[in-house]
């Protein structure tokens, strides 16, 4: 297929037909959306969070709707890296999409092991999830400590030739400091934001709505926070920033680009409209026409402040 060259970008050496990626945990392995989306037109698919061993995820209620958003505590249910490599990855070949594998470990070494296992054909890049708020052992610790996060980046980089993207948690006091630390440790890009830790209570039963009590908030309600963080981080680092958090329309996506994101990542909005990424791509192209801008790259960081 040929695509609008004005939307094509190169991020960490990965050719992307559009700067629109789908967020881990919200788009399955991509194939679930094949009826709705030209997967090759996407910049990439960040697939389900993958761990060394299979995980069953959390028990009880895993999602709750909140005003203009949702909470989730899936708990990284996934078949494990081995099954992913043996069964899933070969199946994804036919879609000709950039597969970005989102990985989570319980220890620093886990990230190295996973990075090495995934250093194979068919994987475009690795995204390190150091901020999953729904998993008790580890995760959040790496995501809130610049030293631990840097160690995770180094462990991954030492074991793979693929670009390594570190996914930043918004549940920190100073996200800029985190971003700078992982840049220095060798991350090829940062993606942000992961979900904001939240909760909901059923006042009739006086019990938490979610089985895990707390969960990660996502969707339109987090967008202003995400946009602010992307803007702050993009100003502070030289590596590409992949911006996400509540993006549902082309206008949202353009805001993130203007704030300094080199590409945008769409999550929760896929649940509302499974073909939303295509609508966003069309909308960005229309904006380029309207603004007489030659290439989407010209929008990146073009905020006039």
């Amino acid at each position: 297929m040929t695509y609008d060259p004005r939307l094509a970008v190169d991020i960490c050496g990965i050719h992307m037909n559009t700067p629109i990626i789908t967020a881990s945990g919200t788009f399955g392995f991509g194939e679930e959306f094949a009826d709705f989306v030209d997967l090759e037109r996407l910049g990439g698919v960040m697939v389900k969070g993958t761990t060394l061993l299979p995980r069953r995820g959390n028990e009880g209620v895993r999602i709750a709707e909140t005003p203009a958003g949702m909470l989730n505590c899936i708990g990284l249910e996934n078949p494990g890296a081995e099954v992913f490599l043996k069964e899933t990855l070969p199946r994804l070949k036919k879609y000709n999409m950039n597969v970005i594998v989102n990985i989570s470990g319980s220890t620093t070494e886990d990230y190295g092991t996973l990075a090495e296992m995934l250093d194979v054909d068919g994987v475009a890049a690795i995204e390190l999830n150091v901020s999953c708020p729904n998993v008790k052992e580890g995760g959040i610790v790496f995501g809130t400590d610049p030293v631990a996060a840097s160690a995770v980046v180094r462990a991954a980089k030492a074991h793979t030739k693929k670009p390594v993207i570190l996914k930043l948690s918004p549940n920190v006091t100073d996200i800029v400091m985190m971003a700078k630390a992982v840049e220095e440790a060798g991350a090829d890009a940062v993606s942000l934001i992961n979900t904001l830790m939240g909760m909901a209570i059923d006042i009739r039963t006086k019990k938490p709505v979610l089985g895990n009590i707390t969960g990660g908030l996502s969707g339109p309600c987090v967008k202003p926070v995400a946009l602010r963080m992307v803007w702050q981080v993009a100003k502070a680092v030289k590596i590409p920033v992949l911006g996400m958090g509540g993006i549902s329309t082309a206008e949202d996506a353009i805001e993130f680009l203007l704030a300094g994101a080199s590409a945008v990542v769409v999550g929760t909005a896929n649940f509302v409209d499974p073909s939303v990424t295509m609508t966003i791509a069309d909308g960005i192209a229309a904006y380029l026409d309207e603004q007489k801008v030659a290439h989407v790259n010209e929008l990146v960081g073009a905020l006039q402040a």
Binding site: E32, D35, I63, A64, P274
Partner: protein
């Protein structure tokens, strides 16, 4: 089973009316969905309103390929279903589907067992089956407004109410053993409260009659991607109601 293409249908509301206390019936024009829909499958309805985000899963309660219409029944429970009652004829409604795997519709005499909103998807099943009878349960006669839909679609109706205001007093599962003992039925399809489905399955197992059950779980995507609708299979696997179900063989999910 070859999968039909999932699609987002921008439908037009034909009628949206209250049929009983807190229960509404909505009919939409959706020709392609009406063609593709199979009993037991569901749709994800996008109810638009301030602050609402996710789609609401509803079982397909009828599909008329000739008229190009699809029917749904919904109980007004929270914000989304309350908002849905405000849709009027001519309004447009975005409906994603058909989703999931439905009931077995092959030849045979089927006993449909249902209670509450579970009677919505099984109504569609009754309409598509050559031979079936229905065992309908409700708290009182008022809740069994369903009979008018089942009457033309079934060969016989058996009714129970908790208060005895209609049919036999008691639960469906109290009547089920004698019905099954007649040996008339090749299989059972049940949809209703989980406890009713579990009991129904257990009685069917005792009598050696295959039983399909239709489960409900909170859903976000409806496409097998978000993993919010997990359940455990009896052999210890994680299943996802939206993709592996919502209809399961009883023994797959009830020990």
């Amino acid at each position: 089973m070859p999968e039909t293409k999932k699609e987002n249908h921008i439908t037009e509301v034909i009628e949206n009316v209250k049929v009983s206390e807190g229960v509404w019936h909505i009919t939409v024009k959706a020709p392609k969905l009406a063609q593709a829909a199979k009993p037991g499958q569901f749709v994800q309805v996008l109810v638009e309103g301030a602050g609402l985000l996710l789609r609401r899963p509803l079982g397909i309660a009828g599909a008329d390929a000739e008229q190009g219409t699809v029917e749904l029944f919904y109980r007004v429970l929270g914000k989304g279903t309350a908002k849905l009652t405000g849709y009027r004829a001519g309004d447009s409604l975005s409906i994603l589907g058909p989703l999931g795997h439905g009931f077995d519709t092959s030849a045979g005499n089927v006993l449909i067992v249902g209670g509450g909103m579970g009677l919505a998807p099984t109504k569609f099943l009754a309409e598509r089956l050559e031979h079936c009878e229905a065992l309908l349960g409700g708290r009182n006669a008022g809740e069994l407004f369903w009979t008018k839909y089942y009457e033309p679609a079934t060969e016989a109706m058996h009714i129970t109410t908790d208060d005895g205001s209609m049919g036999t007093k008691g639960f469906t599962v109290a009547v089920l053993p004698e019905l099954l003992a007649t040996g008339k039925y090749d299989r059972v399809a049940v949809c209703g409260p989980e406890i009713m489905m579990k009991k129904t399955f257990e009685i069917c197992r005792e009598q050696g009659v295959p039983c399909e059950v239709s489960l409900e779980k909170r859903m976000a995507c409806g496409l097998g991607a978000c993993l919010s609708c997990n359940i455990d299979s009896t052999d210890g696997r994680r299943l996802h109601v939206c993709q592996d179900g919502p209809v399961f063989r009883g023994e797959e999910v009830f020990a």
